[in-house]
Amino acid sequence: MAYMSMGEAHRRVTEFLNRFSDAISCQDGASFKSLFSLSSNSPFLLSLADALNLIQDAATTRLINQSDNYSQFADILLPLFRSIQTYRQGNLLEAYNAFEKTANAFIQEFRNWESAWALKTLYVIVYDIRVLAEKADRELASNGKSPEKLKGAGSVLMKVFGTLAGKGSKRVGALYVTCQLFKIYFKLGTVHLCRSVIRSIETARIFDFEEFPKRDKVTYMYYTGRLEVFNENFPAADYKLSYALTYCNPQSEANIRMILKHLIPVKLSIGILPKHSLLEKYNLLEYSDIVQALRRGDLRLLRGALQDHEDQFLRSGVYLVLEKLELQVYQRLVKKIYNIQKQKDPSKAHQVKLEVIVKAMKWLEIDMDVDEVECIMAILIYKNLIKGYFAHKSKVVVLSKADPFPKLNGKPVSS
C-alpha cells in the first residue's frame, strides 16, 4: 500500500471495531474469529495493520474509548492491535507478547459468556498463539536468546484448558486445546506434561470421549499413541494409532503418513508386516528394508537399515522399537535353518546345532562368537520366540516338536 490517508486509516480501524462489537452482540462466531486470525494473513487484517502503522497509539486508544462497545474490550483490543501491527512489521516477538495479552483478556471474557458461541474464536486464538510463539522463538533463537515463548504459550493454553475442562457446552473445545498442548509439548520435549491433560480428558465421566469433534479425536489419538510407543506399550499404541488411522481424513495424506510412521513400527513389533505398496504409497520406504529383513531373517539388512536411517528413527522416537526387532529376525533365521534341516533330515530337524547358526552369522558378515550366539538363543527361548531348550554341554538348540516358532499374532514379544 503506497499511501493511505489518515481518514482512511481511521475508517479501517473503526470498521474493525464495528465488526468486533457487532460480532459480539450478534454472537457471530465466524466473523468474530476472523478478527483474531493473525496467521491467516487475511487482507482485512493486513490493511488494518497498515492503518495502525499510520495512526498513533493514543489515537487508537481514543477510537476504542469513544464507545462503550469497544472500550469494555480495550484489554483485548489494544494488545490485539499492537499484535496485528507488529506482526505485519515482522516483529514477531512483540507480536507474540501482545497476542498473549489479548489471549489472556479474551479468556477472561470468554469465561463470562454463558454459551460457547465464541469457541471457534478461541480455537483461532489458541492456534495462533502457538504458531506465533514458535515464530517468536525462532526469532529469539536467531538473536541468540533463549527461546521461551512456546513454553509461555503452553501455560496460556493450560489456562484455556482450565476454562474449558469443566462441564457445559464449552467442554467440547477441551480436546482441541489439548491437541495444541500436545504439539507444544512434543516440540519442547516436555512430553511428561501431557500426563495431567490426558488424565483430565480420560477420566472425565461427564463427557464421553466420542462426543468430541472427530478431527480432535484423531489428533489426540495420534499423540497419545506416540506416547504409548515411548512407553513400549504396544497394544495400546496399536489401538490408538489405528484409531487415528481409521478416522483420519483420507484426503490428508500427510497426516496419514505421520500416523503410519509410528504405527508401522508398532505393528512390526507385534508381528504384523505391511505390504510394500503401503510403504510406497505413503513414501515410507525407510521401513522397506526392515520389513524385508524381518521376512528373510537377514540381520545384516536390519542393522544396515537402522544405521542408514538412524537420525530419522531417533527423531521420530521409534529407533528403540525397531532395534528390538532384531530378536524376530533371529527367530526367522533359526526358523529358516530349521526348515532347511527338515528338508534334509526331518528326524533330526528339531536339533539345531549352535555351530550352524554361528556359520550362518558369519555368512551374514555379522561378527559373533559362539558364546554370544548361545546367549542370543537363550534369550530367544526366554522370550518365547523359540519353544525348546538349549543343551549347554552339546551346544544344541533343541526345538519343541509342536510349533517351535510361535507367531506373535498381534501380541508383543514377552519381556
Binding site: 477472561q108 521461551e148 528403540l320 528390538k324 558364546d371 538349549f390 543343551a391
Partner: protein, 1007 residues
C-alpha cells in the same frame, strides 16, 4: 507448605478467649466504626486506647523473650487456618467474624510480651500464614486471603473472581468497618509496638518456618497507620482508597498471565511494582466504594507506608506516594504515636533515625535507650514537624522513613525494585532508616555475657597467658584512641571467653591478635555519644546513596527470613570475637545503649562502606581449631566444626600462622585504602547486602515464575553477583540458607588451587565431595562459568562415579550438560558416554534415551567412550549379557563404574534367562566366566567361589554332576530365583547416607 501443615495441626488449641475477645471488640467498635462524621469521637477513643497501650508497652519482658512465642503463633496460625477454611464459603458477616479471630487473637495469645506484641503475634501470624496458604492451596487461596482483614486488601483485589464474593460482603458491611476498627483498638495498644515486636517474631520465624512471610508486613503498619488515618481525615481515605483500587488493578493484571490461583499471593506482593499493567480487575469488581473506605483506609494508611518505598516504584504512583505521606503525617499527629516507641529495637531505631535525619540534634540520645525502654517521646515529637512542614514534597522521604518500622513489609515489597528505591533515595535524603530494619535482636546470652563481663573483668581472674595476650595487643596501639578501642575489644573477647568457659582453657599464647579496631569507629559509636557517631555517617551516606541505597531494601529482606537467623547462628557463633568486642566496647561506655548500637552499627557501616569485607570465614576456622585444641569447652561451634577442624588441623602450621599474621596486619596497613572504620561491621553489612540482594532476586523469580516473566528480566543479575575475597583454600561446604557473603567466597584463583588440592588429596571421598561442593558453590555464587567450572564438575563427577554416588554425579552431569552446551571445552565425549550409560542403566526412560541418542553428534558417535556406551545400551536393551560383560571388562574411562551399578541386575536377568533356556543343567564355571565373575587378573577359583556364593544367595539350586562339576539345576532353580535384600540396605535407600557408615568414613579426629 510445611508451615501450613503445622498450622493446621495446631488448629485444635484455638482458644476460647479469642472468640470472646473478638466479640467484645466488635461490639466495642461498632459504635466507633467509621462514619466519616464521627471522627472526633473516634479519635478520643483511640487516645484512650493508646494510653493503655503505652502502659503495656513498657513491659520489659517481651523484647528478648522469644521462646514463648512460637506456640502462641502456631496456635494462632491454626486459628487462621480454620477461619480460612470456613471462610471460603462464607460471605459477609461470616467473614467479619473470622476477621475478628485474627485480630482477637492478640489478647488471648500466650505471649509474655505484653499486650501489643501479643496481639501482633497473632495478627502477624495471620498474615504470615496466609501467604503459605495461598501457595499451597491454589484454588482456595483467595478465599483464604479474604477473611483476614488487613490481608484482604492485598489479597482480595487480586483474585478477580472469588474476590467478588468478598466485595459483596464489604459493600453491605457495617460489620467490616467494625472489623477494621478493632484493629484500631489494638492499634493503639499494639500498633507500632507490634512492629517492633515483629523484630523478635521475625527472628523466630526465620529460624523456624522461614520462606514466606510476605504479608506479615502489612500487619503492623496497617494497624498503626490506620488508627491515625482514621482519626484525622476521612476524605483522605477515599483518595487513598482509589489509589489502592488502581494499585490493585495493576497488580491484578499482573496476576492474570500466570495461573491466577497459584500465583495470587506471590504476584500480589510482587505484582505491586508492575505499574504498566492496565486494570482488568476494576471493572468486574463493582463494589460500592462507600463500603470500602473504612476498610481501605486502614490499608491505605497502613500498607501504604510500607509499600511506598518498596512496591510503588513507578512514576505513575506519585499520587500514591503522596497519600502515603499524608498518612504518615497523620500518624504522627495521632494519639497512637506513643505506641511508636516500642521498646523493641526496630521501633527505637526507627525513631532515632527519623530524629537524626531530620533534626539531628539531641534526640540522638534515643539511640541508646535502656533495655526496657520507656517510650522515647521526644523522638516521636521530633518526627512530625519535618513531615508536616513539607508534606507533599517529602512524601517519598516519609515513606522511606517508615520503612524501617516495618522491615517485613519492606522486605517483601522491595523485592526486585531496587531501581525504584533508588529513585526514592534520590528524592529523599533519608535512606538510612531502611537500615534500621537490620537491627538484630541480640541473642540473650550476650546480654548476660556483657553483664558478666563487667563483673569478671576484675584483675586477678585472668590467666597469665591472657595477660600476655593483652599486652601484645595493646603494644600495637599507636595512640590513646586505639588503645581504648583495643581495650574494649579485648574486654569483649574476655567476656566471651568467660561466657563459654574458655577463658582458662584457651591458649592465649596462640590466640591470634584481633585486628586493630579503628579508634574512630569506636569513639564514635561507643565512646562518645551515639548521636555524634551516627550523624556524621548519615551525612556521608547521601553522597553515595546510589550504591548503598540498593541494598537497603534488601537488607530488610534479609532481615526477615535470613539475616536474623544468621545473626544468631553465624555472627554470634562464628565471629564471636569481632562482634562481641564491639558489643563490649559499647557496653563499657553506655551499658544500656550498647545493644542498639551494635545492631545499628552494621547497618551504618554498610552505608558508609563498600570496601571488601574481611573474610570472616577464616575467623571462624581458626576459632574452631582453637576450640579443638582446648577441646574442653562445649562450645556449640565446636560440634559444628569438629569435622572441619580435623580438616583444618594444619591451621597451626607455621604457614598458616604467617597467613594469619598477614591478615591481621593488613588491617593496620590498609587505612588509606579501605575504610577501616567499618571493617568490623563490614562483614555484617556486606553479608546483609548480599542476603538481601539474593533474597530479593530469588523472591522475584520465585513469585514470577508462573506468571510474568517481565519482572524477571528486570533483575540485574550482574549487580547481584558476588565477588569473593576469601583466600582460604580449603572450605567446608555448607548449604547456603541465605545470600552468600563475599568474605567467605573464594575468588577464582583460589578455587583453582583448591581444586588442585582436592585432586591431589589422599583423603576419602566424603572429604573430597565436601570440598568440591564448596568449590562448586563458590563458583555458582560468583557466576563463574568457564573451563575451571567444567574441570571442577568433571572432577567431582568422576569422583562420584568412582564412589558410586549417583545423586552427586547427576548433579554434576546436568551442570556439565549446560556448560558444554555453552561451548566450554571439556571432556564432553567422556561425559556424553556417562550420560548415555546413566540413562540406559538407571533412568530406564526410553524417551530420555532416545533424546540423548538423538543429541549425539556424528563425531561423538565415533568416540570410543561413546561407542562403548552405545554398545552397552544395545546389550542392555537386548538383554545380551555376554556382550554386556565383555563390554564391562573393556570399558574405557569410568564407564565401568556406571556399569558396576548395573551388574547385579544384569546378572540376575541373565541367570533368570539361563534357567529358563538351558536344560538340564548349566555349569557354574560357565556362568562365572560369562557373567564377569572371573577376569584375567583373577584367580579362577576365587571367581568360581564368588559366583557360587552369588548363585546360592539368589536361590539357584546347585548340584554336583557326574563329572564332579558344580552345576545349576535350571528347572528347579527357575522358580526359586529371587533377589536377596542387600546386606547393607538402609531404610532410606541410600547407603551413602547411613550414619554409621558416614562416621566410619569420616576422617579421624585430630590427634
Amino acid at each position: 507448605m510445611a508451615n501450613e501443615g503445622s498450622n493446621t495441626e495446631t488448629l485444635a488449641p484455638a482458644e476460647p478467649h479469642l472468640f470472646e475477645n473478638r466479640h467484645v471488640d466488635a461490639s466495642q467498635h461498632h459504635p466507633a466504626s467509621y462514619a466519616p462524621t464521627t471522627n472526633g469521637s473516634e479519635a478520643v477513643s483511640w487516645t484512650v486506647h493508646s494510653s493503655t497501650g503505652n502502659g503495656i508497652y513498657s513491659n520489659p519482658t517481651y523484647q528478648y523473650d522469644q521462646h514463648p512465642q512460637p506456640p502462641g503463633r502456631s496456635i494462632q496460625d491454626g486459628q487462621n487456618v480454620t477461619s480460612v477454611a470456613g471462610n471460603s464459603s462464607n460471605l459477609g458477616t461470616a467473614n467479619v467474624t473470622q476477621d475478628y479471630n485474627a485480630y482477637a487473637s492478640y489478647p488471648s495469645s500466650s505471649n509474655p510480651y505484653g499486650y501489643g506484641s501479643v496481639g501482633y503475634s497473632g495478627y502477624y501470624n495471620n498474615y504470615q500464614q496466609q501467604p503459605n496458604h495461598t501457595y499451597s492451596q491454589p484454588v482456595g487461596a483467595y478465599q483464604n486471603t479474604q477473611p483476614v482483614g488487613a490481608y484482604q486488601n492485598t489479597g482480595a483485589p487480586y483474585q478477580p473472581i472469588s474476590s467478588f464474593q468478598n466485595t459483596g460482603s464489604y459493600a453491605g458491611s457495617a460489620s467490616y468497618s467494625s472489623t477494621y476498627y478493632n484493629p484500631a483498638d489494638y492499634q493503639n495498644t499494639g500498633g507500632y509496638q507490634n512492629s517492633s515486636g515483629y523484630g523478635n517474631q521475625a527472628t523466630m520465624w526465620n529460624n523456624g518456618s522461614y520462606p514466606s512471610h510476605p504479608y506479615t508486613n502489612y500487619a503492623p503498619d496497617s494497624s498503626g497507620s490506620y488508627g491515625s488515618g482514621a482519626a484525622t481525615t476521612p476524605v483522605q481515605y477515599q483518595q487513598q482508597y482509589k489509589q489502592w483500587a488502581d494499585y490493585y488493578n495493576q497488580t491484578e493484571v499482573s496476576c492474570a498471565p500466570g495461573t491466577e490461583n497459584l500465583s495470587v499471593t506471590s504476584s500480589s506482593t510482587l505484582g505491586c511494582p508492575i505499574p504498566a499493567v492496565t486494570s482488568g480487575y476494576a471493572t468486574p469488581n463493582s463494589q460500592p466504594p462507600q463500603s470500602y473506605p473504612p476498610y481501605w483506609r486502614q490499608e491505605s494508611n497502613s500498607s501504604a507506608i510500607p509499600f511506598q518505598p518498596a512496591a510503588v516504584n513507578s512514576g505513575d504512583h506519585d499520587g500514591y506516594w503522596k497519600h502515603g505521606a499524608q498518612s504518615s503525617q497523620i500518624q504522627q499527629t495521632n494519639p497512637i504515636q506513643p505506641n511508636y516507641q516500642s521498646p523493641l529495637d526496630l521501633k527505637s531505631s526507627y525513631d532515632k533515625f527519623q530524629d537524626q535525619q531530620q533534626t539531628v540534634s539531641s534526640q540522638g540520645t534515643n539511640l541508646y535507650f535502656p533495655l526496657p525502654p520507656p517510650p522515647p517521646l521526644p523522638s516521636q515529637q521530633v518526627n512530625p514537624p519535618p513531615v508536616q512542614s513539607a508534606p507533599s514534597s517529602d512524601a517519598k522521604r516519609v515513606s522511606t522513613l517508615q520503612i524501617p518500622t516495618n522491615p517485613r513489609i519492606a522486605s517483601n515489597l522491595t523485592f526486585g525494585q531496587p531501581k525504584a528505591e533508588k529513585d526514592n533515595s534520590i528524592t529523599s535524603s533519608a535512606p538510612k532508616p531502611a537500615y534500621i530494619a537490620v537491627s538484630l535482636p541480640k541473642p540473650t546470652e550476650k546480654v548476660s555475657s556483657n553483664d558478666a563481663a563487667n563483673s569478671i573483668l576484675k584483675p586477678g581472674m585472668f590467666p597469665k597467658s591472657l595477660r600476655g595476650y593483652v599486652e601484645r595487643a595493646l603494644s600495637r596501639c599507636k595512640d590513646d584512641k586505639q588503645m581504648a578501642a583495643c581495650q574494649a575489644v579485648m574486654k569483649e573477647m574476655i567476656t566471651k571467653a568467660t561466657a563459654d568457659g574458655t577463658l582458662n582453657t584457651r591458649n592465649w599464647d596462640m590466640e591470634p591478635l584481633f585486628p586493630m579496631p579503628d579508634a574512630d569507629v569506636i569513639n564514635k559509636d561507643s565512646l562518645s555519644s551515639a548521636q555524634d557517631s551516627l550523624l556524621p555517617k548519615f551525612k556521608k551516606s547521601p553522597k553515595r546513596f546510589k550504591s548503598r541505597w540498593e541494598p537497603l531494601p534488601e537488607e530488610k529482606v534479609a532481615d526477615n527470613p535470613e539475616l536474623i537467623s544468621n545473626n544468631t547462628v553465624k555472627y554470634s557463633g562464628w565471629v564471636p570475637n569481632e562482634r562481641d568486642r564491639k558489643v563490649a566496647v559499647e557496653n563499657k561506655e553506655s551499658k544500656e545503649g550498647g545493644f542498639r548500637n551494635t545492631k545499628f552499627s552494621p547497618i551504618l557501616q554498610r552505608l558508609s562502606s563498600k570496601t571488601p569485607q574481611r573474610p570472616f570465614k577464616k575467623q571462624r576456622l581458626t576459632d574452631a581449631s582453637e576450640n579443638g585444641d582446648t577441646s574442653s569447652d562445649s562450645d556449640k561451634e565446636q560440634s559444628l566444626t569438629v569435622y572441619y577442624s580435623a580438616a583444618m588441623a594444619f591451621s597451626d602450621s607455621p604457614e598458616e600462622r604467617k597467613r594469619r599474621e598477614n591478615r591481621s596486619k593488613r588491617f593496620d596497613l590498609g587505612q588509606g585504602h579501605r575504610s577501616e572504620n567499618n571493617y568490623l561491621r563490614k562483614k555484617n553489612a556486606g553479608a546483609g547486602n548480599l542476603y538481601n540482594r539474593r533474597a530479593s532476586a530469588f523472591g522475584l523469580t520465585k513469585s514470577f515464575e508462573d506468571g510474568i516473566s517481565k519482572a524477571v528480566e528486570d533483575i540485574d543479575w550482574d549487580a547481584l553477583t558476588v565477588k569473593g575475597t576469601c583466600q582460604e583454600i580449603e572450605k567446608r561446604y555448607l548449604r547456603l540458607t541465605s545470600a552468600p557473603d563475599p568474605a567467605t567466597v573464594r575468588p577464582e584463583e583460589v578455587l583453582e588451587k583448591a581444586l588442585l588440592t582436592v585432586q591431589n588429596s589422599q583423603k576419602n571421598y566424603l572429604y573430597k565431595c565436601d570440598q568440591l561442593k564448596s568449590i562448586r558453590q563458590d563458583l555458582t555464587v560468583q557466576r563463574i562459568r568457564n573451563q575451571l567450572t567444567v574441570k571442577v564438575y568433571e572432577t567431582h563427577a568422576r569422583l562420584a562415579l568412582e564412589f558410586g554416588d549417583l545423586p552427586e554425579y547427576n548433579q554434576c552431569q546436568s551442570q556439565l550438560k549446560t556448560l558444554y552446551a555453552e561451548g566450554i571445552e571439556g571432556s564432553d565425549m567422556e561425559f556424553a558416554a556417562y550420560n548415555l550409560l546413566c540413562v540406559i542403566l538407571h533412568s530406564n526412560n526410553n524417551r530420555d534415551l532416545v533424546a540423548s541418542m538423538a543429541r549425539l553428534s556424528h563425531e561423538a558417535k565415533k568416540d570410543e567412550a561413546v561407542k562403548h556406551a552405545l554398545a552397552v545400551r544395545a546389550a542392555v536393551t537386548s538383554g545380551n549379557y555376554i556382550a554386556f560383560f565383555r563390554l564391562y571388562k573393556a570399558a574405557p574411562n569410568l564407564n565401568t563404574c556406571l556399569m558396576d551399578l548395573y551388574v547385579e541386575k544384569m546378572r540376575y536377568k541373565a541367570v533368570s534367562c539361563m534357567c529358563r533356556s538351558y536344560r538340564p543343567t548349566l555349569p557354574v564355571s560357565y556362568i562365572s566366566q560369562v557373567l564377569g565373575f572371573s577376569s584375567d587378573e583373577r584367580e579362577t577359583d576365587a571367581a568360581f567361589e564368588e559366583c557360587l556364593e552369588w548363585l546360592k544367595a539368589h536361590g539357584a539350586t546347585i548340584i554336583t554332576d557326574n563329572n564332579g562339576d558344580m552345576v545349576v539345576e535350571t528347572k528347579v532353580s527357575l522358580s526359586n530365583l529371587f533377589v536377596p535384600e542387600p546386606e547393607d540396605a538402609v531404610a532410606h535407600g541410600d547407603a551413602n547416607l547411613a550414619v554409621k557408615d558416614f562416621f566410619a568414613r569420616a576422617p579421624p579426629p585430630p590427634s
